[in-house]
Symmetry: C2
Subunit: 149 residues, 2 copies
DNA sequence: TCTTGATGATTCAATGTCGAACCATCCACA
DNA sequence: TGTGGATGGTTCGACATTGAATCATCAAGA
């Protein structure tokens, strides 16, 4: 098989696997009315503690404008609080509220199980290799002339 | 490392690699004002010939409602034509127009190069393994209780 | 102190996307 | 023949996302 065509097929399989996984996760979260982005934010705050919006944007790979609306929606539901940083007033640090904390603690294990079960079709070694290849690939594409910013 | 945490990390790397790749492709296409979905449709028509909208939806993993608007936009630009099937009038077969055909022929090689170059950080063997793992994973997640339909 | 450039956040318009309701068409079966 | 269920496509409302423009704030240097 020629090299281009092989690469395309690999690329397609990667994309589709990721989209299938995301779609499953999304469906798993929909009963709680959580978007993937909202879940990503809650999960980041849960595991890393309070973060400013720029950091959140980098964590979940979304534009700054989008982060604002995601936080808006989380704040409206009382899952999260905004606080202007006193040391540098440009920054807004986002913190989990207590209801936000309990929601993510309640929801996260289910997502973890879903993912763990999905990935259980691969051996530990296979998972390591997959992770390593994805990491390499991610880096390589970031260096492309069309890198995401 | 415990098994859950390993799976999560692998999952995250997979998702991020895919999103980085998609984002690069998107940026590559934006000068032609083509969406990833629009490109996906043109590419499918280019390589597989005329298809009905349901088939297109399966190819690019989008909802039927969305396919309608994607085709609307492509048709408005004259890149594509709709034809009611005469044998079963429920079906709408979508065909590339001549300008659509030349656009995809002009654009596709660049995308192919972008992807091939990105994936060139992996050996052929590594690519094969990556593809196989993604395929397995995709199948496994489709059997999950939260499978995408 | 003032100005300039950089940076984080917000706003806004345009668009993509989904899911549900709906319409048209076909098919199987009585 | 005709009726009911299945199927492909469209419409519509709700929301996510982006990118550009804008605002507020900070830091560095004249």
């Amino acid at each position: 098989m020629d090299e281009n065509s092989q690469s395309l097929k690999t690329y397609t399989k990667l994309i589709r696997a990721a989209e299938t996984a995301l779609s499953c996760t999304q469906k798993h979260l929909s009963p709680q009315d959580l978007t993937l982005s909202q879940f990503g934010v809650l999960e980041a705050l849960h595991h890393l503690g309070p973060l400013c919006q720029k950091e959140l944007g980098q964590k979940i790979l979304k534009s700054s404008g989008n982060i604002t609306t995601v936080i808006d929606n989380l704040e409206r539901r009382g899952l999260v609080r905004r606080e202007r940083s006193s040391v540098d007033r440009r920054y807004v640090t986002v913190k989990l509220s207590s209801t936000g904390a309990s929601l993510i603690q309640e929801v996260f294990p289910g997502v973890e199980n879903l993912i763990t079960e999905g990935l259980s079709c691969l051996s530990e070694l296979e998972q390591d290799i997959l992770a390593a290849s994805c990491k390499k690939l991610g880096r390589a594409m970031e260096e492309s002339p069309f890198s995401p910013k």
